[in-house]
């Protein structure tokens, strides 16, 4: 449900960027989304369909690029990519880890004219 406000922020940001770059229309929004965020692409698309009419995004589609969860163990120093957000070092089993990536949620670029 929280994707409504998130998608609203996304549409606002893209409209501002379109304005700044003198785009009449946006066709593609390249969105980077970390695996360790609680945002679901399906829900974002659902709300996007509802929010985009009568904006510069009305003909746009969102291209999602997922960013994996990369962690660094503070104990053994090894870096690993993990599939599930279980914050444990696959190398030594310790749980004192630093999240290097996977929490991102940003617009990488927009395409339009």
């Amino acid at each position: 449900m929280h994707e409504y406000s998130v998608t609203k922020s996304l549409v606002d940001l893209c409209n501002q960027e379109a304005e700044r770059n003198k785009f009449a229309k946006i066709y593609k929004i390249n969105l980077k989304i970390g695996k360790f965020t609680g945002f679901s692409p399906d829900s974002i698309n659902f709300y996007f369909g509802y929010l985009k009419p009568n904006t510069k995004c009305s003909n746009a589609e969102i291209i999602f690029e997922e960013i994996p969860i990369r962690i660094k163990c503070k104990d053994c120093g090894k870096e690993n990519i993990i599939d599930e957000p279980i914050l444990m070092c696959p190398n030594c089993g310790k749980t004192d880890i630093e999240i290097i990536s996977g929490r991102e949620f940003f617009v990488e670029s927009i395409e339009g004219e």
């Binding site: 449900m1 929280h2 409504y4 406000s5 998130v6 922020s9 996304l10 606002d12 940001l13 893209c14 960027e17 770059n21 785009f23 066709y27 593609k28 969105l31 360790f36 965020t37 609680g38 945002f39 957000p85 279980i86 914050l87 444990m88 749980t95 004192d96 991102e104 949620f105 940003f106 617009v107 990488e108 670029s109 927009i110 395409e111 339009g112 004219e113």
Partner: protein, 222 residues
């Protein structure tokens, strides 16, 4: 067709607003706690005990977030402290803008601001509101597997309170397993086992909060 780089976070505005809220709270030396739990875990009962204890020596404000209604506010008003109700209507969490909207209503300086978020273990974790820290509550009937199911919240919380420990003889909840799960998501997390019904375990919570209040009062900045 042209392509331009944007490289801007979608939630930048919420983060910025949260920082502005934090500045305002810091200027008043208010300790702000964002309390997050699922519906029925005992957020209001927890707040009730904490406020009862601290209201004698500290100025306390409660900000109450609910989708609709003011059942909790009405209950908390019995404590004779100030309560501000926010109804989020369609939203399943409080965000920095909703807090910013009620900031002008805060006319006094408060030592302790307890924010009861909307009952939900998922979304409230994503949105900073300007808090000093997040306090999560998990109640024993919900099950000891929750730390593994909702990793983000427990990863970001400074404190987790395991509530309804008076029900431990009747529910399948392994305290040891739950605690190991919390530590796995967040090795630094502080864990308290309590019963908001009987009051058991609250002395430790009070001592912890007392320390946090003192640190904040001295104008400690993170």
């Amino acid at each position: 067709m042209r392509r331009v780089e944007v490289l801007k976070p979608v939630l930048v505005s919420n983060k910025q607003r949260a920082q502005e809220n934090r500045k305002k709270f810091d200027s008043m030396n208010s300790l702000v706690i964002n309390i997050i739990a699922s519906p029925g875990a005992g957020k209001t009962s927890f707040i009730y005990r904490v406020v009862e204890h601290f209201k004698r020596n500290y100025r306390v404000l409660i900000i109450e977030g609910d989708i609709r209604g003011q059942v909790d506010s009405e209950c908390l008003l019995k404590l004779k402290v100030d309560v501000i109700q926010i109804n989020t209507l369609t939203e399943c969490h409080l965000d920095a803008f909703m807090i910013a909207q009620v900031l002008p209503k805060i006319k006094k300086k408060y030592d302790l601001v307890l924010v009861e978020n909307v009952g939900n273990l998922v979304c409230p974790a994503e949105f900073e509101i300007g808090e000093d820290f997040k306090l999560a509550i998990l109640s024993t009937p919900e099950g000891d597997d929750k730390p593994l199911k909702y990793p983000l919240l427990f990863h970001l919380s400074k404190v987790v309170v395991i509530n309804k420990c008076d029900l431990l003889p009747y529910v399948d909840f392994n305290l040891k397993k739950a605690k190991a799960g919390f530590k796995k998501e967040n090795p630094k997390i502080r864990i308290f086992d309590v019963s908001a019904k009987t009051g058991k375990g609250f002395e430790k919570v009070y001592r912890f909060l007392e320390r946090e209040l003192k640190v904040k009062k001295k104008g400690f900045k993170k």
